[in-house]
């Protein structure tokens, strides 16, 4: 692999304090956003007294309570489900990405778009949708498909893993698709010239994707073990306890036991530490810089009729499973007349949609969350590129590895940990006495959103950025461009589409974010997710599900406008270079 590109740029080790300043500034920012809040939360496992969560200054009792409440079983279940999910999701994502990025498969634009639809359907909605379809007397039952074996299979580890796989594929896809599309034609050509068949050429390409594949595996694993939406619904009703369910049980039941939750948090961080260790061993010391200004667009393989049918069958099968059930669930609930349980013609009504638009219950929360999401996404799109770039440089040392662990550990911890950690850190009497009143403001909520989104987005960008070759940057610098110019003229075009995807991912993520919103939202300003869940908590599903349908339609519209806008507005060169091609 080392012969594939020039080595990274030579490092100039600066000794002056001015040179260290930007790095220090970045670490200080990360400390305020991530390290301090998450660290303080985790510390309560040892020292409950620190934040008035108990009487002992130092105690290991919370670990004992966590083990008693079944955390070991939960963490084992989570690790097994997380590993299986990661492997299968990455495999599915590779197939999808290959068809979308490398072949002339019909409907490539639609499949890329639907990936986003899967990504932004909340996991609890997917789980509930399937429950409604498969439960006895559910939608399948109404259609005459009475399959009790399928129902009992679904309400257990198989169903839980299945839902996680459908939710994990988009994360894996976003990690591997840009990489697959970005590997220039020259490598494939070289392989073919030397007599390799199509399959053999594939085998040449696959190792080049290693950073993206590993990034995808680690990301899906961390996202899966930190999920609560499925853990609290399908897994809980299937008597299949996952670690996050144990964590939430200690917070959701009164009295609230944050120290026990923190102890469970340590187990989750430990699991991610193991995953990261594996990843580090797998790609240590190799170079994957294959994307440069000379990169030529790969030739799309012209699929035969049977190839098209196979690809279409795969894509339609996956999206049908991933989106069909939850959409059917949400649409039927939101379109039913009050008091009816079946989707028969006579019972269909748009009453909930009319009520929703009339009451304005959705407009203010949607506006608030959309504004927060846009601000946070803009900042994340910039910072995540910078951090991913930092993580993927060749000279990445201990600091990059610490950063990597920090990011993945944060992904592995459920959102409520971040929410509670922010309250611990920024609601300290000491902070208030300094005249800083951040808790209960949109600013703190925005910071927490930023902290929650930055790790996932950065990790997704690590794949594509590992492939950016430094030689064009060096060429630009040799020709007299300053660092900013080199960044704007050389690096940015190569990662522009990744930035756009990072923006969209963060935007949709923040728009629907629940646990941090619940803990930190400013009095009187209701985020979208809080408005939806309080509406869903009432006995009628209709208004809540109508809100979900409208909100998802809004998010999809934003995604559509952004993708179409990029296609029309971005300079042609950017699109040619853009690492994630349709």
């Amino acid at each position: 692999m080392k012969s594939l590109s020039l080595p990274g740029q030579p490092s100039k080790r600066g000794r002056g304090s001015l040179r260290a300043a930007p790095g220090l500034f970045g670490w200080a920012g990360l400390a305020l956003l991530l390290v301090v809040p998450v660290g303080l939360f985790l510390v309560t496992a040892f020292s409950p007294r620190l934040f008035d969560q108990g009487s002992a200054w130092f105690s290991l009792g919370s670990f004992g309570s966590a083990i008693q409440s079944g955390v070991l079983r939960g963490i084992l279940d989570s690790i097994l489900v997380g590993s299986l999910t990661a492997v299968v999701a990455v495999a599915i994502a590779l197939f999808l990405a290959w068809w979308v990025a490398r072949t002339n498969l019909v409907g490539r634009g639609l499949w890329s778009f639907l990936i986003w639809a899967v990504l932004l359907s909340p996991s609890y909605l997917v789980a509930l949708g399937w429950e409604q379809v498969l439960v006895s007397h559910g939608a399948f039952w109404d259609l005459g498909l009475r399959l009790p074996w399928l129902t009992s299979l679904f309400f257990g580890p198989v169903g839980v893993t299945f839902v996680y796989i459908t939710k994990g594929v988009p994360f894996a896809f976003l990690a591997v698709a840009p990489a697959l599309a970005g590997i220039g034609r020259e490598y494939e050509d070289a392989a073919r010239i030397h007599g390799a068949g199509r399959l053999r050429a594939w085998r040449t390409l696959l190792p080049m994707l290693a950073p993206a594949i590993w990034a995808g595996l680690a990301l899906v694993f961390a996202e899966t073990i930190s999920d609560f939406g499925v853990a609290d619904t399908l897994a809980a009703s299937s008597k299949f306890p996952l670690a996050t369910f144990t964590l939430f049980n200690s917070i959701d039941n009164f009295p609230v036991h944050f120290p026990v939750a923190a102890a469970v948090g340590w187990f989750l961080v430990g699991a991610v530490g193991l995953a990261l260790l594996l990843q580090a061993r797998a790609i240590r010391g190799r170079v994957y810089a294959v994307l440069s200004g000379r990169t030529r667009s790969p030739v799309r393989i012209r699929l035969s009729r049977s190839g098209q049918l196979l690809g279409l069958g795969f894509a339609m099968g996956f999206f049908g499973l991933a989106l069909g059930a939850p959409m059917l669930g949400a649409l039927t609930s939101s379109l039913l007349r009050p008091g009816s349980a079946h989707l028969a013609g006579a019972a269909v009504s748009t009453i909930y949609y009319r009520q929703l638009l009339h009451s304005g219950a959705l407009i203010a929360p949607l506006e608030f969350s959309a504004r927060m999401a846009a601000i946070v996404a803009t900042i994340v799109a910039v910072l995540a590129v910078a951090m991913a770039h930092y993580l993927t440089r060749r000279q990445a040392g201990v600091s990059a590895r610490i950063l990597d662990l920090l990011l993945l550990a944060t992904i592995a911890l459920p959102g409520i940990v971040l929410g509670a950690g922010y309250i611990f850190a920024y609601n300290l009497p000491l902070i208030n006495r300094l005249g800083i009143h951040l808790y209960g403001t949109s600013l703190l909520l925005g910071m927490a959103y930023l902290a929650g989104a930055l790790p996932t987005t950065t990790r997704i960008l690590v794949g594509p950025l590992a492939q950016v070759d430094q030689s064009p940057v060096q060429a630009a610098r040799v020709l007299g461009a300053g660092p900013l110019r080199a960044l704007a003229a050389v690096v940015f075009p190569m990662v522009a589409r990744s930035c756009l995807w990072a923006w969209l991912l963060t935007f949709t993520g923040v728009l629907f974010e629940l646990p941090v919103s619940q803990m930190l939202y400013p009095p009187g300003q209701f985020p979208l997710s809080v408005a939806i869940t309080t509406a869903l908590a009432t006995y009628v599903y209709g208004p809540g599900t109508a809100m979900i349908v409208v909100a998802i339609a809004f998010a999809l519209a934003v995604v559509g406008v952004a993708l179409v806008g990029f296609r029309w507005l971005a300079p042609r060169g950017w699109r040619n270079l853009a690492v994630a091609q349709r």
Binding site: S237, T378, A420, P483, G524, A537, T538
Partner: protein, 352 residues
């Protein structure tokens, strides 16, 4: 020259961070809403509430008294988690949710203002719920475990708890999972209390399970199962049951005894004197006729379907007379601390 002086990567990162800073600043300036906590002269009353009628009641209170009032409206679980996380520096002034178990626990922690009781004409049931140290007050009653049944398939609903384990109701009864649905714990605790002991109550639930008890996560799922014919009857909170029965073939019945589920107000003991006075005025307002009116119009098909705690105030017409309901009161101080353990037992032994 620049390349020899400044590490280009660091320069890039600085540039990116600066750009992000400019965007953040721009957004900050462009956002008119409350962004940073400017402490004004007026101390606003901060209400944490999970009631369906809270927003209109808070607005009406603010209009009537001129006291600036802010509301954090959410489900009970997240609100209590938020209060617990704020323990070292509480930001809430008043908590208003269903169920007094959490209030008993907060009282034990010394979190609630004691010895405050509005001078109102309480009903007999309300007097049974107010704790000796007056650390919280009831504002209305629902029942934790009302029986809702499909009248199309059930002509005579059961009238006692023991009938539910009979062959007639095999596979026909549903309820929520108390680990997921907040108001279901008082229902479970009520059944245990009526059974005479925790172990006797647990045996009763095991009998229900053997008789095909169907557990769903929350009310919506359970009601859906009832309407789709998967089950014939279900135990859910009375306000949800009566609301669901308003325009369908569903009907509501009461077993003997039903467990009272009070909606409760508690005031933070650490608030400033001014906010404490504001919170007390809020509690008094809620228990006044205008306040009761707001509670009854805010969520007419849900939480507004409660029985008043005040003599002389009638419930909404959809509710039967309270005198006709056989009820029992749970001791919040003894049942509250068992919530986590019992929910855990329920999940492990009854949910399947």
């Amino acid at each position: 020259m620049a390349a020899t002086r400044v590490n280009p990567r660091q320069g890039r990162i600085v540039a990116l961070i600066l750009t992000a800073g400019v965007v953040a600043l721009g957004a900050l300036l462009a956002t008119p809403a409350r962004l940073v906590g400017a402490k004004s002269q007026d101390v606003p009353l901060v209400v944490y509430s999970a009631q369906g009628y809270d927003k209109n009641t808070v607005a009406a209170f603010q209009k009537a008294t001129g006291i600036p009032t802010e509301i954090v409206d959410d489900s009970t679980g997240p609100l209590l988690a938020r209060i617990a996380a704020e323990a070292s520096n509480p930001q809430w002034g008043l908590l208003w949710v269903d169920g007094d178990e959490a209030f008993a626990a907060l009282d034990r922690q010394g979190t609630l203002l004691k010895h405050f009781e509005p001078k109102v004409n309480w009903t007999a049931a309300a007097k049974k719920v107010i704790p000796a140290d007056k650390s919280y007050i009831p504002t209305g009653f629902t029942l934790a475990c009302a029986l809702i049944y499909n009248s199309a398939v059930v002509s005579t609903p059961p009238s006692s708890w023991s009938q539910l384990t009979g062959a007639e109701w095999r596979g026909a009864l549903g309820m929520n999972n108390p680990s997921v649905s907040g108001p279901t714990y008082p229902c479970v605790a009520g059944v245990l209390q009526h059974a005479g002991s925790v172990s006797a109550g647990e045996r009763y639930f095991e009998q229900l399970k053997a008789n095909g008890l169907v557990i769903h996560d929350v009310n919506g799922d359970t009601l859906n199962a009832l309407q789709s014919g998967q089950i014939k009857l279900a135990m859910i909170q009375s306000s949800a049951a009566i609301g669901a029965a308003e325009d369908s073939s569903l009907k509501v019945a009461f077993l003997n005894p039903e467990t009272l589920l009070p909606s409760v107000i508690g005031i933070d003991s650490k608030v400033s004197r001014q906010e404490r006075l504001e919170a007390e005025r809020f509690a008094e307002y809620v228990l006044s006729r205008p306040g009761q009116h707001q509670m009854q119009v805010g969520d007419p098909h849900g939480d507004s379907l409660y029985w008043p705690v005040l003599r002389g105030v009638n419930p909404l017409p959809a509710l039967p007379q309270f005198a006709a309901v056989p009820y029992q009161v749970l001791n919040a101080y003894s049942w509250g601390p068992r919530e986590a353990a019992l929910n855990n037992w329920f999940t492990n032994n009854i949910v399947s």
